[in-house]
């Protein structure tokens, strides 16, 4: 605690201070300092510095939250949540802050400590790096660097979805102040603090599937035609594909519409997802086209093991497991050699499984490999991205 903090307290006491189990008020020539634990002291103005020292943790705590922490409601609430301020009275909290109070936010881990003047210091790193020595991590101190870290995963692949559970590890922001901590978190997981706070205040503006799709125009307007009044099974599949905790750390709060919940669990994330994101909308556009096709009956020659192998390959891709399959693990149906063997044995020269053409009318022309899946506007991936003009 420093003199400036006591001076600030003396000023504020004129209007009365009541915060986190601590009260200070003016009484005659002096002040009354009191705590929720029952301590109460009447002190002459000249002795305030000396007496306030007995309440140092309360005074510095009050000062931090009113003079140091960002005052915007959501940022303030988030920082309070980080140190469990609403759960633990100041003496207990300060004892815990001495060791560091640790919270996770998605894949982020925040550790909060406090110094003698009540200043909080925030250490931010990947939760997987919780036990790694600081020297083993790359140090950053500029919140803007979070944008760069968040851009690619550990294998250098671009992360279009910031809340995908693929945040790279190996870095550390040490000794961030409260405002910079919130900024850094917001660069890693944009708007999660704001939406988390809105939800806590009962003010989360959820936009469900139906209204979100109804809003779409341009190349995405077609998604509205996917809802044909035949239930929401297709949206369940979208949510299972894209919004599962294994794919996104936001907790899905949007449903089919205001009255109809999806049949899929929304997940256990700390922060909510308030509407289908641009990735979901973009994928839904593709599925709207693909799902416009009618099913057909195909007849394939496969051994029982080959059938199971096809299933194993789909599972491995869907679970993002292909990179983990060891090169010589021939027992795994999704092993590369196994897949190449299957292709060598069962695909014809045109790439048709078991020689069965995709379109029966095109049998024998050897050019049927992508019939049925080509869009009217071509297969160029760029068409999923509108032009920037």
């Amino acid at each position: 605690m420093n003199d400036a903090q006591v001076e600030a307290l003396a000023d504020a006491a004129a209007d009365g201070v009541e915060f986190d189990g601590f009260a200070a008020s003016r009484e005659g020539e002096g002040y009354v300092l009191a705590t929720a634990e029952g301590s109460k002291t009447l002190v002459h103005g000249d002795d305030l510095v000396e007496t306030a020292a007995d309440y140092a943790d309360y005074v510095t705590n009050w000062h931090f939250w009113h003079a140091e922490a960002p005052q915007a409601d959501d940022r303030w609430a988030f920082l309070r949540w980080l140190e469990r301020a609403e759960e633990h009275p100041v003496p207990d909290r300060y004892a815990e802050l001495d060791d560091g109070v640790v919270r996770t936010w998605g894949q982020l881990q925040v550790s909060v400590t406090v110094d003698a003047d009540g200043n909080r210091s925030y250490d931010l790193r990947h939760a997987d790096d919780a036990d790694r020595p600081a020297a083993a991590l790359t140090h950053y101190d500029d919140p803007l660097d979070a944008r760069t870290i968040a851009k690619h995963d550990d294998r250098g692949r671009y992360r279009p979805l910031k809340t995908a559970p693929s945040l790279q590890d190996g870095w550390r922001f040490a000794d961030l102040g409260p405002a910079d901590l919130v900024r850094t978190v917001d660069f890693f997981y944009p708007a999660t603090v704001a939406n988390w706070h809105r939800e806590r205040e009962g003010d989360l503006d959820v936009s469900h599937w139906r209204e979100t799709m109804a809003r779409q125009t341009g190349i995405y307007g077609v998604v509205q035609t996917w809802d044909r009044g035949e239930g929401h099974e297709h949206v369940d599949w979208v949510a299972e594909a894209c919004c599962d905790d294994s794919q996104c750390l936001k907790r899905r709060e949007w449903e089919y519409d205001d009255e109809t919940d999806l049949s899929v669990d929304g997940g256990a994330g700390a922060f909510p997802c308030r509407e289908p994101c641009s990735l979901v909308v973009s994928a839904a556009r593709r599925w709207t086209k693909l799902e416009g096709e009618e099913s057909r009956t195909y007849e394939f020659e496969l051994t029982p093991s080959e059938k199971e192998q096809v299933e194993a390959i789909v599972d491995a891709v869907a679970d993002g497991r292909t990179a983990e399959i060891r090169e010589a693990d021939i027992r795994d149906g999704a092993n590369r050699y196994r897949a190449r063997f299957l292709r060598a044995k069962r695909f014809d020269d045109a790439g048709n499984l078991s020689g069965v053409p995709t379109d029966p009318d095109e049998a024998g022309d050897g050019d049927a490999d992508d019939a049925g899946v080509e869009d009217e506007d071509g297969t160029d991936a760029e068409d999923d991205e509108e032009h920037d003009d």
Partner: protein, 290 residues
């Protein structure tokens, strides 16, 4: 103090699409002209839908990092930002003359000064010229050189071509380059035939695009004959039909673009005169020193 939000397209596929947006935002952050500067994207996060709730200020200047007026600036951005009472007529634009309008974003109750796109601001002509200087490494470049400003064309948006022609006309009027032409990817005069449109031995080609991507890195270089395969790269300058082609890549990556963002906010009432001076000095000085 008001905040600045730069809204851009972004990409699900291309990691470098957001890079110019980040770079220009950082340049402006460093001036301290705004307490808060934030980037938002159609395809990335924070989304247009959620960026305003990450801002503390009650007053926000929103500048679209887009080339022309059209679908995004008139429909998508105002809708996603929930700008109450938005009507494209509020800009009273002829297709290239939108400046700004002030509205409220209904989900956050903030005052939004919604600005026209950077691509149609007069200062963009300076960026194109600066880009020409950067790619040639010559701060006096002009005499003996032709300049081609390249855009999409009107296939998707008629204002796209207007913006290209607008700047080509302005730069031509300065009499700095021997020849200035507006060329397009999907209509005549086509960039494929770039050398047909110039007498000059040296032709500088500046695509009026915000970020480098498929069109500027693959399409245009191959169409002009700088290379048979974009993956193998090309020389700068590259010789095509006896002309030297100085291909600059997307104009939006030019550091001076930060100035255009500031100019947009300034026209809408932001107090950024000092920042404009600083950015102009830094971004043109850096390029001249190359």
């Amino acid at each position: 103090m008001p905040a600045l939000v730069i809204v851009a397209h972004g990409s699900h596929l291309n990691a470098s699409s957001s890079t110019p947006t980040f770079d220009h935002a950082d340049t402006i952050r460093a001036t301290g002209a705004f307490d808060e500067v934030r980037e938002a994207f159609w395809k990335e996060e924070p989304s247009f839908r959620e960026v305003l709730r990450t801002i503390e200020s009650d007053e926000v200047y929103v500048v679209p990092l887009f080339i022309s007026e059209g679908y995004f600036t008139e429909e998508v951005i105002p809708r996603e930002l929930r700008l109450d009472g938005w009507d494209p007529d509020a800009w009273e634009s002829d297709g290239t003359s939108a400046t700004h309008t002030t509205l409220e974003a209904t989900d956050v109750g903030k005052t939004v000064h919604y600005c026209g796109p950077v691509g149609t601001h007069d200062a963009m002509s300076d960026v194109i010229v600066q880009r020409a200087e950067s790619v040639t490494g010559n701060s006096d470049v002009g005499e003996g050189f032709g300049l081609a400003v390249v855009g999409h064309g009107t296939e998707r948006n008629e204002n796209s071509a207007k913006a290209v022609e607008y700047h080509a006309d302005r730069i031509r009027d300065r009499d700095r380059f021997d020849e200035v032409e507006a060329l397009f990817m999907d209509e005549d005069p086509e960039v494929d035939d770039v050398t047909d449109f110039f007498q000059s031995d040296d032709i500088i080609v500046v695509p009026l695009f915000i970020a480098d991507g498929y069109h500027t890195r693959e399409d245009i270089p191959e169409d002009m004959g700088l290379t048979d395969d974009y993956r193998t790269g090309w020389e700068t300058p590259a010789i095509v039909d006896g002309h030297r082609i100085w291909y600059s890549g997307a104009v939006g990556t030019e550091p001076l673009m930060a100035d255009v963002v500031l100019e947009r906010a300034k026209d809408a009432g932001a107090d950024v005169d000092d920042a404009v001076a600083t950015v102009r000095e830094e971004t043109t000085g850096a390029a001249a020193g190359d």
